[in-house]
Symmetry: C2
Subunit: 129 residues, 2 copies
Amino acid sequence: MTTLTVEECWALLQQESVGRLGYRLVDELHVVPVNYVVRDDVVLVATGEGNKLLASELHAEAALEIDDLRGEEAWSVLVRGRLQHVEEGPAEAFADVATVSWLPTFKYDVIQLVPAAVTGRRFEVHRPR
Amino acid sequence: MTTLTVEECWALLQQESVGRLGYRLVDELHVVPVNYVVRDDVVLVATGEGNKLLASELHAEAALEIDDLRGEEAWSVLVRGRLQHVEEGPAEAFADVATVSWLPTFKYDVIQLVPAAVTGRRFEVHRPR
């Protein structure tokens, strides 16, 4: 198992667009698939009314995990930090955030995960037959 | 977007073997890929020394997320609960838990996620070109 450098982690974060966002809403831990965009070392996610938006208003603890487990060599990257509701800036500045979303729900809001720690690792996988 | 029944969620949990486990270790939120096995409505994960085992000793808040985002209709299931270190029972009772693991690290311990809530949803995805 190899530890990835922070630079390698950000390169993978830039390359991918789908991850799993964990966040703590009051005393409930949630993990959900999300589309995301990285800009200026911050992770941006489009969202509508609901738990993620509420969690961002509460500056909830959160972590975005991305991985690729398909090959013989797998990797995973974790960005830990807190959520914030992005309320500033013209809407068009975030147009690309909304358009990467796969879900057909209304997403007028953008939340950001401000990283406190970025870690990653690469490892060989041995699948059972 | 359709809400899955608890029965549908468990059927998907039985069918799959890879998920993302979120857990809170003291004040750090982690999300990591894991191999898992479902037995008696409990999620079992083999692990070695490290954060997951420590989190299980602390009965940490945790959530296992599984999904399939590849088709035009995607789904995700979330099991929320707390971790426990499984210290009882003969080792052979958990042999299948250890053998599903893809990672070549030593895994002498089994932790379980005892579900407090199981939820899932199915949704159409609209990928950007």
